[in-house]
Protein backbone atom coordinates (compact mmCIF):
# COMPACT_ATOMS: atom_id res chain seq x y z
CA UNK A 1 0.00 0.00 0.00
CA UNK A 2 1.56 3.30 -1.03
CA UNK A 3 0.71 5.91 1.63
CA UNK A 4 2.75 8.39 -0.35
CA UNK A 5 0.54 8.14 -3.44
CA UNK A 6 -2.68 7.94 -1.44
CA UNK A 7 -1.77 11.26 0.21
CA UNK A 8 -0.87 12.77 -3.17
CA UNK A 9 -4.27 11.64 -4.48
CA UNK A 10 -6.07 13.30 -1.59
CA UNK A 11 -4.08 16.52 -2.12
CA UNK A 12 -4.92 16.48 -5.82
CA UNK A 13 -8.47 17.43 -4.73
CA UNK A 14 -7.13 20.63 -3.14
CA UNK A 15 -4.99 21.82 -0.18
CA UNK A 16 -5.52 19.90 3.08
CA UNK A 17 -4.26 19.70 6.67
CA UNK A 18 -2.33 16.70 8.04
CA UNK A 19 -5.09 15.56 10.35
CA UNK A 20 -7.67 15.91 7.62
CA UNK A 21 -5.48 13.78 5.31
CA UNK A 22 -5.34 11.02 7.87
CA UNK A 23 -9.14 11.01 8.33
CA UNK A 24 -9.81 11.06 4.60
CA UNK A 25 -7.26 8.30 3.97
CA UNK A 26 -8.97 6.01 6.46
CA UNK A 27 -12.45 6.82 5.16
CA UNK A 28 -11.28 6.33 1.56
CA UNK A 29 -9.96 2.83 2.26
CA UNK A 30 -13.14 1.67 3.94
CA UNK A 31 -11.40 2.18 7.32
CA UNK A 32 -9.61 -1.13 6.96
CA UNK A 33 -6.16 0.50 6.71
CA UNK A 34 -5.56 2.56 9.82
CA UNK A 35 -2.83 5.16 9.67
CA UNK A 36 -1.09 6.77 12.63
CA UNK A 37 -0.35 10.47 12.74
CA UNK A 38 3.40 9.80 12.77
CA UNK A 39 3.21 7.95 9.43
CA UNK A 40 1.26 10.82 7.91
CA UNK A 41 3.73 13.50 8.99
CA UNK A 42 6.84 11.51 8.09
CA UNK A 43 5.40 10.88 4.62
CA UNK A 44 4.38 14.52 4.19
CA UNK A 45 7.89 15.66 5.13
CA UNK A 46 9.41 13.34 2.52
CA UNK A 47 6.97 14.47 -0.13
CA UNK A 48 7.78 18.11 0.65
CA UNK A 49 11.55 17.39 0.58
CA UNK A 50 11.14 15.74 -2.86
CA UNK A 51 9.17 18.70 -4.21
CA UNK A 52 5.97 16.69 -4.74
CA UNK A 53 3.98 18.84 -2.29
CA UNK A 54 4.48 22.26 -0.69
CA UNK A 55 3.20 23.87 2.51
CA UNK A 56 0.41 26.31 2.27
CA UNK A 57 1.54 28.20 5.37
CA UNK A 58 5.10 27.93 6.71
CA UNK A 59 4.25 29.53 10.04
CA UNK A 60 2.32 26.58 11.48
CA UNK A 61 4.07 23.24 11.92
CA UNK A 62 1.32 21.52 13.94
CA UNK A 63 -1.65 19.40 12.87
CA UNK A 64 -3.17 22.44 11.22
CA UNK A 65 -0.29 22.85 8.76
CA UNK A 66 -1.70 22.76 5.25
CA UNK A 67 -0.22 21.22 2.11
CA UNK A 68 -0.87 21.40 -1.60
CA UNK A 69 0.31 19.16 -4.46
CA UNK A 70 2.88 20.55 -6.93
CA UNK A 71 2.95 20.02 -10.71
CA UNK A 72 5.73 17.48 -10.16
CA UNK A 73 3.55 15.72 -7.59
CA UNK A 74 0.62 15.56 -10.07
CA UNK A 75 2.92 14.07 -12.66
CA UNK A 76 4.32 11.50 -10.21
CA UNK A 77 0.82 10.50 -9.10
CA UNK A 78 -0.38 10.10 -12.68
CA UNK A 79 2.61 7.97 -13.56
CA UNK A 80 2.11 5.73 -10.51
CA UNK A 81 -1.61 5.26 -11.23
CA UNK A 82 -0.91 4.05 -14.76
CA UNK A 83 2.02 1.79 -13.93
CA UNK A 84 0.82 -1.81 -13.34
CA UNK A 85 2.24 -3.45 -10.22
CA UNK A 86 4.77 -6.20 -10.93
CA UNK A 87 2.77 -9.42 -10.91
CA UNK A 88 5.09 -11.28 -13.29
CA UNK A 89 6.85 -13.20 -10.53
CA UNK A 90 4.66 -15.93 -8.97
CA UNK A 91 4.53 -15.35 -5.21
CA UNK A 92 5.53 -18.02 -2.69
CA UNK A 93 1.98 -19.07 -2.02
CA UNK A 94 1.73 -21.02 1.21
CA UNK A 95 -1.46 -22.76 0.16
CA UNK A 96 0.02 -23.94 -3.15
CA UNK A 97 3.06 -25.23 -1.28
CA UNK A 98 0.86 -27.12 1.23
CA UNK A 99 -1.06 -28.87 -1.56
CA UNK A 100 2.17 -29.74 -3.40
CA UNK A 101 3.69 -31.14 -0.23
CA UNK A 102 0.48 -33.06 0.59
CA UNK A 103 0.93 -34.89 -2.74
CA UNK A 104 4.15 -36.39 -1.39
CA UNK A 105 2.81 -37.59 1.96
CA UNK A 106 1.44 -41.12 1.39
CA UNK A 107 -0.99 -41.20 4.35
CA UNK A 108 -2.58 -37.86 3.48
CA UNK A 109 -5.77 -37.59 1.42
CA UNK A 110 -5.04 -34.53 -0.72
CA UNK A 111 -8.75 -34.00 -1.44
CA UNK A 112 -9.37 -33.66 2.28
CA UNK A 113 -6.54 -31.17 2.59
CA UNK A 114 -8.04 -29.19 -0.29
CA UNK A 115 -11.51 -29.35 1.26
CA UNK A 116 -10.37 -28.07 4.65
CA UNK A 117 -8.82 -25.04 2.95
CA UNK A 118 -11.87 -24.59 0.74
CA UNK A 119 -14.19 -24.58 3.76
CA UNK A 120 -12.07 -22.02 5.58
CA UNK A 121 -11.98 -19.73 2.54
CA UNK A 122 -15.74 -19.97 1.95
CA UNK A 123 -16.33 -19.14 5.62
CA UNK A 124 -14.10 -16.11 5.17
CA UNK A 125 -16.09 -15.11 2.07
CA UNK A 126 -19.33 -15.46 4.04
CA UNK A 127 -17.99 -12.90 6.50
CA UNK A 128 -17.05 -10.45 3.75
CA UNK A 129 -20.40 -10.95 2.03
CA UNK A 130 -22.21 -10.16 5.31
CA UNK A 131 -20.61 -6.71 5.09
CA UNK A 132 -22.39 -6.16 1.79
CA UNK A 133 -25.80 -6.82 3.29
CA UNK A 134 -25.80 -3.65 5.30
CA UNK A 135 -26.30 -1.38 2.30
CA UNK A 136 -26.86 1.71 4.47
CA UNK A 137 -23.24 1.60 5.70
CA UNK A 138 -21.75 0.44 2.43
CA UNK A 139 -20.02 3.35 0.69
CA UNK A 140 -18.24 3.10 -2.65
CA UNK A 141 -14.68 2.83 -1.29
CA UNK A 142 -15.66 0.14 1.16
CA UNK A 143 -17.62 -1.73 -1.55
CA UNK A 144 -14.47 -1.78 -3.72
CA UNK A 145 -12.36 -3.08 -0.83
CA UNK A 146 -14.89 -5.84 -0.06
CA UNK A 147 -15.17 -6.81 -3.75
CA UNK A 148 -11.38 -6.96 -4.04
CA UNK A 149 -11.17 -9.34 -1.06
CA UNK A 150 -14.01 -11.50 -2.33
CA UNK A 151 -12.50 -11.81 -5.81
CA UNK A 152 -9.07 -12.53 -4.34
CA UNK A 153 -10.35 -15.32 -2.07
CA UNK A 154 -12.63 -16.60 -4.83
CA UNK A 155 -9.64 -17.01 -7.14
CA UNK A 156 -7.99 -19.21 -4.51
CA UNK A 157 -11.16 -21.34 -4.16
CA UNK A 158 -11.25 -21.70 -7.94
CA UNK A 159 -7.65 -22.83 -7.93
CA UNK A 160 -8.50 -25.42 -5.25
CA UNK A 161 -11.44 -26.63 -7.37
CA UNK A 162 -9.19 -26.90 -10.42
CA UNK A 163 -6.52 -28.71 -8.40
CA UNK A 164 -9.13 -31.13 -7.06
CA UNK A 165 -10.38 -31.85 -10.59
CA UNK A 166 -6.86 -32.24 -11.93
CA UNK A 167 -5.95 -34.71 -9.17
CA UNK A 168 -9.08 -36.77 -9.79
CA UNK A 169 -8.31 -36.94 -13.52
CA UNK A 170 -4.73 -37.93 -12.80
CA UNK A 171 -5.94 -40.66 -10.45
CA UNK A 172 -8.44 -41.89 -13.03
CA UNK A 173 -5.85 -41.90 -15.81
CA UNK A 174 -3.45 -43.80 -13.59
CA UNK A 175 -5.95 -46.51 -12.64
CA UNK A 176 -7.30 -46.68 -16.20
CA UNK A 177 -3.93 -47.19 -17.83
CA UNK A 178 -2.68 -49.37 -14.96
CA UNK A 179 0.59 -47.49 -15.08
CA UNK A 180 3.07 -48.28 -12.34
CA UNK A 181 5.50 -45.45 -12.97
CA UNK A 182 7.30 -43.20 -10.54
CA UNK A 183 5.44 -41.98 -7.45
CA UNK A 184 7.14 -38.60 -7.47
CA UNK A 185 5.07 -35.43 -7.86
CA UNK A 186 4.62 -35.00 -11.60
CA UNK A 187 6.76 -32.45 -13.37
CA UNK A 188 7.52 -30.25 -10.38
CA UNK A 189 11.14 -29.28 -11.12
CA UNK A 190 10.31 -28.76 -14.78
CA UNK A 191 7.37 -26.51 -13.94
CA UNK A 192 9.49 -24.46 -11.55
CA UNK A 193 11.99 -23.76 -14.27
CA UNK A 194 9.26 -22.86 -16.70
CA UNK A 195 7.43 -20.30 -14.52
CA UNK A 196 10.52 -19.02 -12.73
CA UNK A 197 9.34 -19.48 -9.14
CA UNK A 198 12.09 -18.06 -6.91
CA UNK A 199 14.03 -20.76 -5.05
Amino acid sequence: MSIKHALLALLSEGPKYGLQLRQEFEAGTGEVWPLNVGQVYTTLQRLERDGLIESVDDADDGPQKGFRITAQGEEGLDQWLHTPPDLSQPPRDELVIKVLIALRVPRVDVSEVIQSHRRYLVELMQQWTRLKEDEANFDLSFALVVDAELFRIDSVVRWLDAADGRLKRAEFDKSFSGATGSQSAPGLPKMRRRVGVPR
Partner: protein, 239 residues
Protein backbone atom coordinates in the same frame (compact mmCIF):
# COMPACT_ATOMS: atom_id res chain seq x y z
CA UNK B 1 -38.28 -25.72 12.80
CA UNK B 2 -36.98 -27.03 9.50
CA UNK B 3 -39.24 -26.35 6.55
CA UNK B 4 -37.31 -28.71 4.27
CA UNK B 5 -35.80 -31.95 5.52
CA UNK B 6 -33.97 -34.66 3.61
CA UNK B 7 -33.34 -37.81 5.63
CA UNK B 8 -30.79 -40.30 4.36
CA UNK B 9 -31.72 -39.63 0.74
CA UNK B 10 -30.08 -41.64 -2.03
CA UNK B 11 -30.75 -41.60 -5.75
CA UNK B 12 -29.66 -44.34 -8.11
CA UNK B 13 -30.14 -44.21 -11.86
CA UNK B 14 -30.02 -47.32 -14.05
CA UNK B 15 -29.56 -50.93 -13.06
CA UNK B 16 -26.85 -53.53 -12.78
CA UNK B 17 -23.36 -52.63 -13.89
CA UNK B 18 -24.52 -49.34 -15.45
CA UNK B 19 -25.93 -48.07 -12.15
CA UNK B 20 -25.08 -44.49 -11.26
CA UNK B 21 -25.25 -43.42 -7.62
CA UNK B 22 -26.14 -39.75 -8.05
CA UNK B 23 -26.79 -39.13 -4.34
CA UNK B 24 -25.84 -41.18 -1.31
CA UNK B 25 -27.15 -40.82 2.25
CA UNK B 26 -27.88 -37.12 2.04
CA UNK B 27 -29.17 -35.35 5.14
CA UNK B 28 -30.22 -31.74 4.90
CA UNK B 29 -32.36 -29.45 7.04
CA UNK B 30 -33.33 -25.95 6.00
CA UNK B 31 -35.12 -23.73 8.50
CA UNK B 32 -37.72 -21.15 7.51
CA UNK B 33 -35.92 -17.85 6.90
CA UNK B 34 -32.53 -19.37 6.21
CA UNK B 35 -30.48 -19.77 3.07
CA UNK B 36 -28.42 -22.90 2.51
CA UNK B 37 -26.00 -23.21 -0.39
CA UNK B 38 -24.98 -26.60 -1.74
CA UNK B 39 -21.64 -26.19 -3.44
CA UNK B 40 -19.98 -28.68 -5.71
CA UNK B 41 -18.55 -29.23 -9.19
CA UNK B 42 -20.51 -30.35 -12.26
CA UNK B 43 -21.76 -33.90 -11.90
CA UNK B 44 -21.53 -33.90 -8.10
CA UNK B 45 -25.29 -34.47 -7.73
CA UNK B 46 -26.35 -30.99 -6.67
CA UNK B 47 -29.03 -30.53 -9.37
CA UNK B 48 -30.44 -34.01 -8.60
CA UNK B 49 -30.64 -32.97 -4.95
CA UNK B 50 -32.61 -29.88 -5.93
CA UNK B 51 -35.12 -31.78 -8.09
CA UNK B 52 -35.69 -34.29 -5.27
CA UNK B 53 -36.05 -31.50 -2.69
CA UNK B 54 -38.59 -29.86 -5.01
CA UNK B 55 -40.62 -33.11 -5.45
CA UNK B 56 -39.88 -33.18 -9.18
CA UNK B 57 -38.19 -36.54 -8.74
CA UNK B 58 -38.52 -39.30 -6.13
CA UNK B 59 -35.52 -40.52 -4.16
CA UNK B 60 -34.53 -44.19 -4.49
CA UNK B 61 -34.22 -44.34 -0.70
CA UNK B 62 -34.84 -41.97 2.19
CA UNK B 63 -37.48 -39.38 3.03
CA UNK B 64 -38.18 -35.80 2.02
CA UNK B 65 -40.36 -33.63 4.26
CA UNK B 66 -41.68 -30.23 3.21
CA UNK B 67 -43.51 -28.16 5.80
CA UNK B 68 -43.71 -31.24 8.01
CA UNK B 69 -45.34 -33.39 5.29
CA UNK B 70 -43.63 -36.51 3.95
CA UNK B 71 -43.57 -36.48 0.14
CA UNK B 72 -43.60 -40.29 0.07
CA UNK B 73 -47.18 -40.19 1.41
CA UNK B 74 -48.41 -37.79 -1.23
CA UNK B 75 -50.12 -38.53 -4.53
CA UNK B 76 -48.84 -37.07 -7.78
CA UNK B 77 -51.59 -34.44 -7.71
CA UNK B 78 -50.82 -33.51 -4.10
CA UNK B 79 -47.19 -32.99 -5.01
CA UNK B 80 -48.13 -30.85 -8.01
CA UNK B 81 -50.35 -28.72 -5.76
CA UNK B 82 -47.56 -28.41 -3.20
CA UNK B 83 -45.17 -27.23 -5.91
CA UNK B 84 -47.63 -24.64 -7.21
CA UNK B 85 -48.42 -23.25 -3.77
CA UNK B 86 -45.30 -23.60 -1.70
CA UNK B 87 -42.23 -24.04 -3.90
CA UNK B 88 -40.58 -21.57 -6.21
CA UNK B 89 -37.92 -22.68 -8.68
CA UNK B 90 -35.21 -20.53 -10.23
CA UNK B 91 -33.03 -21.95 -12.99
CA UNK B 92 -29.90 -20.65 -14.65
CA UNK B 93 -31.65 -20.36 -18.02
CA UNK B 94 -34.61 -18.47 -16.44
CA UNK B 95 -37.31 -20.78 -17.91
CA UNK B 96 -39.68 -17.90 -18.67
CA UNK B 97 -42.45 -18.52 -21.18
CA UNK B 98 -41.56 -16.43 -24.26
CA UNK B 99 -45.15 -15.67 -25.31
CA UNK B 100 -46.08 -14.12 -21.96
CA UNK B 101 -45.11 -10.72 -20.56
CA UNK B 102 -43.06 -10.41 -17.36
CA UNK B 103 -46.25 -9.84 -15.34
CA UNK B 104 -48.03 -12.78 -17.01
CA UNK B 105 -45.07 -15.06 -16.31
CA UNK B 106 -45.23 -14.08 -12.65
CA UNK B 107 -49.02 -14.35 -12.34
CA UNK B 108 -49.27 -17.72 -14.15
CA UNK B 109 -48.60 -19.95 -11.11
CA UNK B 110 -51.23 -18.04 -9.12
CA UNK B 111 -53.80 -18.46 -11.88
CA UNK B 112 -52.96 -22.14 -12.21
CA UNK B 113 -53.67 -22.38 -8.52
CA UNK B 114 -57.16 -20.96 -9.04
CA UNK B 115 -56.69 -17.28 -8.23
CA UNK B 116 -58.78 -14.92 -10.40
CA UNK B 117 -56.80 -13.39 -13.27
CA UNK B 118 -57.27 -9.78 -12.05
CA UNK B 119 -56.13 -10.55 -8.53
CA UNK B 120 -53.22 -12.66 -9.80
CA UNK B 121 -52.09 -9.85 -12.10
CA UNK B 122 -52.27 -7.29 -9.28
CA UNK B 123 -50.19 -9.55 -7.01
CA UNK B 124 -47.64 -10.09 -9.80
CA UNK B 125 -47.31 -6.33 -10.33
CA UNK B 126 -46.76 -5.82 -6.63
CA UNK B 127 -43.92 -8.38 -6.52
CA UNK B 128 -42.34 -6.95 -9.67
CA UNK B 129 -42.52 -3.51 -8.10
CA UNK B 130 -40.79 -4.77 -4.94
CA UNK B 131 -38.01 -6.16 -7.12
CA UNK B 132 -37.61 -2.88 -9.01
CA UNK B 133 -39.21 -4.18 -12.20
CA UNK B 134 -42.52 -2.28 -12.23
CA UNK B 135 -41.67 -0.52 -15.50
CA UNK B 136 -40.78 -3.83 -17.20
CA UNK B 137 -44.04 -5.61 -16.33
CA UNK B 138 -45.42 -5.40 -19.89
CA UNK B 139 -42.16 -6.46 -21.57
CA UNK B 140 -41.75 -9.91 -23.13
CA UNK B 141 -38.74 -12.04 -22.08
CA UNK B 142 -36.82 -11.32 -25.28
CA UNK B 143 -37.13 -7.59 -24.54
CA UNK B 144 -35.51 -8.00 -21.11
CA UNK B 145 -31.80 -8.07 -20.27
CA UNK B 146 -30.32 -11.22 -18.71
CA UNK B 147 -30.39 -9.62 -15.26
CA UNK B 148 -34.02 -8.52 -15.67
CA UNK B 149 -35.06 -11.98 -16.86
CA UNK B 150 -33.51 -13.60 -13.83
CA UNK B 151 -35.19 -11.07 -11.54
CA UNK B 152 -38.55 -11.88 -13.18
CA UNK B 153 -37.90 -15.59 -12.61
CA UNK B 154 -37.22 -14.84 -8.93
CA UNK B 155 -40.43 -12.79 -8.76
CA UNK B 156 -42.27 -15.81 -10.18
CA UNK B 157 -40.58 -18.07 -7.63
CA UNK B 158 -41.54 -15.99 -4.59
CA UNK B 159 -45.00 -14.75 -5.63
CA UNK B 160 -47.97 -15.83 -3.49
CA UNK B 161 -47.47 -17.88 -0.38
CA UNK B 162 -44.27 -19.66 -1.41
CA UNK B 163 -42.34 -20.99 1.55
CA UNK B 164 -39.48 -22.72 -0.23
CA UNK B 165 -37.19 -21.29 -2.88
CA UNK B 166 -34.99 -23.71 -4.82
CA UNK B 167 -32.41 -22.17 -7.14
CA UNK B 168 -30.00 -23.89 -9.53
CA UNK B 169 -27.04 -21.62 -10.37
CA UNK B 170 -29.36 -18.59 -10.28
CA UNK B 171 -26.67 -16.11 -11.26
CA UNK B 172 -24.65 -18.40 -13.47
CA UNK B 173 -25.06 -16.49 -16.70
CA UNK B 174 -24.99 -13.03 -15.16
CA UNK B 175 -22.18 -10.57 -14.50
CA UNK B 176 -21.16 -10.00 -10.89
CA UNK B 177 -23.34 -6.90 -10.39
CA UNK B 178 -26.50 -8.64 -11.61
CA UNK B 179 -25.51 -11.81 -9.76
CA UNK B 180 -25.27 -9.82 -6.56
CA UNK B 181 -28.70 -8.26 -7.20
CA UNK B 182 -30.16 -11.76 -7.60
CA UNK B 183 -28.66 -12.94 -4.31
CA UNK B 184 -29.89 -9.83 -2.52
CA UNK B 185 -33.40 -10.81 -3.65
CA UNK B 186 -32.97 -14.35 -2.38
CA UNK B 187 -31.80 -12.97 0.97
CA UNK B 188 -34.77 -10.57 1.03
CA UNK B 189 -37.13 -13.52 0.47
CA UNK B 190 -35.47 -15.33 3.38
CA UNK B 191 -36.01 -12.31 5.63
CA UNK B 192 -39.72 -12.74 4.83
CA UNK B 193 -39.53 -16.29 6.20
CA UNK B 194 -38.82 -18.24 3.01
CA UNK B 195 -36.49 -21.25 3.31
CA UNK B 196 -34.05 -21.25 0.39
CA UNK B 197 -31.60 -23.69 -1.15
CA UNK B 198 -29.16 -22.54 -3.81
CA UNK B 199 -27.00 -25.09 -5.61
CA UNK B 200 -23.90 -23.73 -7.26
CA UNK B 201 -20.23 -24.23 -8.07
CA UNK B 202 -19.60 -20.53 -7.43
CA UNK B 203 -18.08 -19.61 -4.05
CA UNK B 204 -19.10 -15.94 -4.31
CA UNK B 205 -22.71 -16.92 -4.77
CA UNK B 206 -22.53 -19.55 -2.01
CA UNK B 207 -21.05 -16.99 0.38
CA UNK B 208 -24.46 -15.28 0.63
CA UNK B 209 -25.77 -18.35 2.45
CA UNK B 210 -26.11 -18.87 6.19
CA UNK B 211 -24.64 -22.32 5.74
CA UNK B 212 -22.68 -23.87 2.88
CA UNK B 213 -22.77 -27.64 2.34
CA UNK B 214 -20.10 -29.19 0.11
CA UNK B 215 -21.14 -32.05 -2.16
CA UNK B 216 -18.72 -34.38 -3.97
CA UNK B 217 -19.66 -37.45 -6.02
CA UNK B 218 -23.13 -37.57 -4.46
CA UNK B 219 -21.91 -37.30 -0.85
CA UNK B 220 -22.15 -34.34 1.49
CA UNK B 221 -18.53 -34.14 2.53
CA UNK B 222 -18.40 -31.04 4.66
CA UNK B 223 -20.19 -27.86 5.70
CA UNK B 224 -19.28 -24.43 6.98
CA UNK B 225 -19.78 -23.56 10.61
CA UNK B 226 -21.76 -20.50 11.60
CA UNK B 227 -19.65 -17.64 10.24
CA UNK B 228 -18.34 -15.07 12.65
CA UNK B 229 -19.83 -11.60 12.40
CA UNK B 230 -18.33 -9.29 9.77
CA UNK B 231 -16.98 -7.01 12.48
CA UNK B 232 -14.29 -9.63 13.14
CA UNK B 233 -12.82 -8.94 9.70
CA UNK B 234 -12.58 -5.22 10.26
CA UNK B 235 -11.10 -5.83 13.72
CA UNK B 236 -8.50 -8.18 12.18
CA UNK B 237 -7.68 -5.71 9.40
CA UNK B 238 -7.15 -2.86 11.83
CA UNK B 239 -4.88 -4.79 14.21
Amino acid sequence: MSFLELHDVSKIYGEGPSQVHALEHINLQVEAGSLVAVMGPSGSGKSTLLTIAGSLEDPSRGDVMIGGLALSHMSRDDKARLRRRSIGFVFQDFNLLPGLTAAENVSLPLELDGLRAGKAHATALQVLDELGLADRAAAFPDELSGGERQRVSIARAVVGERRLLLADEPSGALDSTNGEAVMRMVRAACRQGVAAVVVTHDAQLASWADRVMFIRDGHMVDQTTQPMGPESLVARATQ
